[in-house]
Amino acid sequence: MKKRRFSAALTAALAAALSFTGMASETKIEQSGGTASQDVSAVYTPVKEAEVVYSVDIKWGSMEFTYTAPDVVKTWDPESHTYSETLAGEGKWTHEEKANEIVLTNKSNKALTAEITVAMLQNYSGITPELSAANLSLKDASIGATTSTPGTASEASTAITLKGALTDKTASKTTVGNVTVTIKDAEEVQP
């Protein structure tokens, strides 16, 4: 009786073992003591890239410039009995501290560039604007950032100076030109 029970239990155990093996592998074991193998495959789905959030700050000064005309030196000509006038040096453009500055801050998770252009109005085309930097590079603020470590906002600035003479003697807080800040994505550098 004991033998019969033992053989029945052994048969059941073998049958169960074979069925588990069959589930794990599609390859068949053709003979007793044979082996079977099956590759285990895995697919990696990368984490979706974070959406670009554009956030840019712009600060600018009053952009008010004062033109001081050169001194006019009058000279008496005793032969012709007339005065002649000559300019002593050149006119001078001045401004308050930081009045001519433009500062950009990039807090985007994207590198940006900013192009600064100054267009003088037609009546003031004799005045030439000059920029300390016409193109500004602003780094991606997310560089080095993780969920616990913050990135760093990138800042860049430029300053405008004027050259040439203001011929409009009645000018008083008169607009002589306009400034445009053009913001673009920085070109991706291929590794």
Partner: protein, 187 residues
């Protein structure tokens, strides 16, 4: 005698018809005048020198909390801008969906234009906001008439951002241009 009476009757009828036509024309002219004076919504002035008195109709509060204002030198300006570089034009709804925010830390008011850059170099303003005060964002704008000419498809445009003094409403000497806005047009 009878002929004379009939001729007079005909003349009177003609006069009445002429009077009626003239009255109708006068009524139509009066109607058009009333509509033009009180009901017509004129096209907004593009890139106005002064900020529109009316705040943008579709502006919504942007920040949960008010941020400290940015530092600004005397006579200057300061703005912070948060935006997405995409815009979806729906011709049937006559609206454009976009995202542009003038956070509360900004000092200046903003007027936003969505401008379509065409291949021949010409530009068309598809939408222009009213005044967007600091602390407000806009997620939809009404299209301008010119947008109706667009065909379905994808275009490239730009945001033209005009800044205004919050006290005087005067346009700042500086403006912004955000390039490469992807504009998708659907019916």
């Amino acid at each position: 005698m009878a002929k004379k009476a009939k001729a007079r009757q005909d003349k009177d009828r003609k006069s009445k018809i002429v009077m009626l036509v003239l009255l109708l024309i006068a009524a139509a002219a009066a109607g058009v005048t009333v509509w033009a004076l009180f009901f017509r919504s004129p096209a907004p002035e593009l890139a106005p020198d002064y900020a529109p008195k009316k705040a943008e109709e579709y502006a919504e509060p942007a920040d949960a909390e008010t941020e400290e204002k940015m530092e600004v030198s005397e006579g200057g300006g300061a703005v912070s801008m948060i935006y997405k570089k995409e815009a979806a034009v729906s011709l049937s709804e006559n609206m454009v969906s976009l995202m542009f925010q003038n956070p509360s830390k900004s000092v200046n008011d903003i007027v936003l234009q969505l401008v379509l850059a065409q291949e021949d170099g010409t530009e068309t303003v598809l939408a222009q906001s009213g005044t967007l005060h600091p602390g407000y964002k806009v997620e939809q704008l009404e299209l301008m008439k010119e947008a109706a000419k667009l065909a379905e498809g994808t275009y490239t445009g730009r945001f033209h951002v005009l800044y205004y003094d919050p006290d005087t409403a005067e346009k700042a000497v500086l403006d912004g241009s955000i390039e490469d806005i992807r504009i998708t047009v659907t019916k």
